[in-house]
């Protein structure tokens, strides 16, 4: 069967959890509003067709960019059956979307999710009653425990009956307005329900205003007249408020009939935790402490020991094994070099750092799934306000520590275009997991004592540079508008091991996959460039093509203290993906007798090593980030700006570090 169903509902109600359960995929789940920011398509189990996961909405009138995706979808797909998922513990608020869906058509299956949360709060819902009042099927589920999933398949099978849409009476004045607009829209072909369009238009739905722009001036006049008449009769209220109020009254009457409350409200666990983590004085210290813990775990306590073990395994066992096998097979020396020096050297050099990357992703998933992410925005908002931004920017920025690409996507849930744009250009300075191997490599050679501290200082430096940029932009280009902030704080949820592991694996997998494709290919090419030169093949490395390319750039880097062709060509390859810097270095600094670590120590001093890490942190976003930035800002100008600002800052800051270090007498 080739049916398509769409998941629609309020933000953070478990749409993606349900999507994953119904399609067996592993899309991104997290406990705050605005996790999903784009349309995702999956194949339903039991050959039932396809399911579309969408961002969350509160009404059909979009405010932020992710909500606009949904409004657009509803307009473009007027007949697609809808799986409307609602948070049972917030029935009243959630039903607003349901009502608007039903006004469109009744091809809707209602899923009451989070039954467990509702029951815990003493809220019980009579499904059968709700079903008969709304005249649609209702299924209770617990998406994250995958309970009630079979009933959904059953419900979806029965969905195709088309009955008449829900009609609410909005009072004589508004009804007259609706009828006149409908008349104007009568030549609009397609399956779209004109009454629904008219109501949405009267309510001020921006997306629909755009769609109807051709007949705009006439219907705009009808809307103004209707609003005037309404205000004449009812006093100072807006049309949008009136329409919402009619729905609210209807919803209240339903809620009164279907809900029973069995417990007196008490102080919930969430509130108790919030009293501590959003405490007046403790809020920011707790946030900083948690961040520090993440660094300690990733770099000191667990990450490094594991990565050392992996290193031993890769060099002493895997490499030796390959060497022996190749010797037995008697392959020609060229192939042997490609495999041992190029592939095992380059890819292995990066893979060694897998433990740190997985631990970092695990910690980030913990932040995301617990509900703490939303609290970070709250405790940091005052500070961000001083920077001219809002606390919500912290969500994309923290996601950016994992990878800048999803970070830039996550900025979609920021309501104001201005704040969203600034957040996006700040993102490349968030030190992503791809930069982590570079730090890990240098730290393990030069800063054995203060591993976590040095890493932390780089992350902080990135944040400082990003905030500086924000401050500059908000006090020049974007001076006129001010930033706004409103955030919903979801209840804390105990993260589940399964979700955490899946989330960590899904993100970490990207790193391993990159190692197998990009870094693999890159390593082979880089190795070839070191193997060949103007003088032929198998030339000394200093006469290779790579050395020549690097030598062009090296003089520019000389004031920074690492003006060698090796450093220059590593930086150049880092534009592809930051990890490639490490594979390039592994190939360049590979010597048969000495370990790369030893050779590195010859070419860098602790000071220039720190300078080099700073430069890597700031200099350019990787190729993938540039592509997403271009796509999301719709602006070459801003993308170029982000790249140039990075380059300039990288140069200046590294220069200052090196020169100050020298003056202070640090080698």
């Amino acid at each position: 069967m080739n049916a398509t169903f769409a998941l629609i509902g309020n933000p953070n109600t478990g749409k993606t959890s349900l999507f994953n359960a119904l399609t067996g995929s592993y899309q991104y789940v997290g406990n705050w509003s605005g996790v999903t920011v784009e349309k995702k398509v999956g194949t339903l189990h039991h050959n039932m067709g396809t399911l579309v996961d969408l961002p969350g909405i509160y009404t059909m009138n979009p405010i932020s960019a992710d909500e606009a995706v949904v409004s657009n979808y509803l307009l473009e797909e007027p007949t697609t059956p809808v799986l409307n998922i609602i948070d049972t513990s917030q029935l009243k608020r959630n039903l607003h979307v349901t009502i608007q869906l039903l006004e469109r058509n009744r091809n809707v299956l209602l899923c009451l999710n989070m039954i467990d949360v509702a029951n815990e709060r003493g809220i019980y819902v009579d499904n059968n009653r709700l079903s008969s009042l709304l005249n649609i099927d209702v299924t209770p589920i617990i998406a994250r425990k995958e309970q009630g999933i079979d009933n959904i398949f059953h419900g979806l099978n029965q969905l195709h009956k088309s009955t008449t849409p829900l009609v609410l009476y909005y009072g004589s004045i508004v009804e007259k307005g609706i009828t006149s607009i409908e008349k104007k829209l009568s030549d609009l072909n397609g399956d779209i329900n004109t009454r629904w369009l008219a109501i949405q238009y009267l309510q001020g739905n921006r997306q629909i205003e755009n769609k109807l722009s051709s007949s705009n001036c006439e219907i705009a006049k009808i809307r103004d007249d209707t609003e005037k008449q309404l205000q004449f009769k009812e006093g100072n209220i807006t049309l949008a408020y009136h329409i919402m109020n009619v729905r609210e009254t209807f919803i209240q009457s339903i809620v009164d009939q279907v809900i029973t409350i069995k417990k007196e409200p008490k102080v919930f666990m969430s509130e108790k935790i919030d009293q501590i983590v959003t405490n007046k004085f403790l809020g920011i210290p707790i946030f900083l402490f948690l961040m520090y813990m993440i660094f300690m775990v990733t770099f000191n306590w667990i990450g490094f020991p594991l990565s050392d073990l992996l290193d031993v395994f890769l060099t002493d066992m895997v490499a030796v094994w390959f060497e022996n096998v190749l010797a037995i097979l008697q392959v020609n020396p060229f192939i042997e070099s490609v495999i041992l020096e190029g592939i095992i050297g380059g890819v292995g050099g990066v893979l060694v750092f897998t433990p740190q990357i997985f631990i970092l992703f695990f910690c980030l998933s913990l932040l995301e799934d617990s509900g703490y992410m939303a609290r970070i925005t709250v405790v940091m908002d005052r500070f961000m306000q001083a920077m001219g931004l809002n606390g919500k920017a912290f969500i994309p920025l923290i996601i950016g520590f994992g990878c800048n690409v999803p970070g830039i996507m996550a900025a979609r849930s920021i309501e104001q275009e201005r704040d969203r744009l600034i957040t996006m250009v700040m993102l490349p300075f968030m030190s992503c997991s791809a930069r982590l191997p570079v730090y890990a490599l240098f730290i393990s050679v030069f800063f054995k004592e203060n591993q976590a501290l040095i890493a932390l200082s780089l992350y902080v430096l990135g944040i400082v540079i990003a905030l500086l940029l924000a401050k500059i932009l908000t006090s020049t280009t974007f001076k006129k508008e001010k930033s706004l902030f409103i955030m919903e704080l979801p209840p804390y949820r105990m993260p589940q091991w399964r979700t955490l592991w899946r989330a960590t694996w899904e993100k970490g997998k990207g790193f391993i996959r990159k190692a197998g494709t990009f870094i693999f290919g890159g390593s082979v090419i880089i190795w070839l460039l070191t193997y060949m030169g103007p003088g032929g093949i198998d030339v000394p490395m200093d006469e290779s093509y790579l050395a020549q390319i690097g030598a062009y750039i090296a003089p520019f880097l000389a004031p920074l203290g690492f003006g060698t062709w090796q450093a220059a060509s590593s930086l150049l390859t880092g534009f592809l993906a930051k990890e490639v810097v490490v594979s390039t270095m592994s190939i360049i600094y590979a010597a048969p007798e000495v370990q790369m670590q030893g050779l590195l120590a010859e070419y860098f001093s602790p000071l220039t090593a720190y300078g080099f890490m700073t430069f890597i942190l700031l200099y350019v976003p990787c190729l993938a980030t540039v592509a997403v930035m271009k796509q999301e800002t719709h602006s070459i100008k801003w993308t170029m700006f982000a790249i140039l600002y990075g380059l300039v800052m990288a140069y200046i800051v590294t220069f200052l570090i090196i020169q100050c270090g020298r003056i202070l007498g640090i080698a």
Binding site: Y58, T59, N61, I63, S89, Q90, K92, R93, H96, R121, A240, Y241, M244, P265, S270, E271, D274, Q275, T278, K280, F281, G283, T377, V378, V379, D381, R382, Q385, G391, E415, Q416, L484, F485, I486, M487, E488, L489
Partner: protein, 75 residues
């Protein structure tokens, strides 16, 4: 009086929005905060930081400036 003038854990009824920004007003409406709704001020963060308010079992955080723009009357 307005929300910012409430004491922590004090309950009040929303009367009207006066100086609240349009975008925030739209969002508040969507989240179920509009005239005649009951709200409770849960916490105010220091140095003019945001306020956390509760309604119908949900928590919403807004800036002090906007909280000052929401007129309420005590229950």
């Amino acid at each position: 009086m307005n929300i910012a003038q409430l004491k922590e854990n004090e309950v009040a009824i929303v009367e009207c929005f006066s100086t609240v920004d349009q975008l925030i007003k739209d969002r508040l409406m969507q989240l179920g905060i509009y005239p005649n709704q009951e709200i409770c001020l849960l916490r105010k963060l220091p140095f003019g930081g945001p306020c956390i308010i509760g309604t119908c079992g949900q928590c919403i955080c807004i800036r002090l400036y906007d909280a000052k723009g929401i007129e309420v009357k005590k229950k």
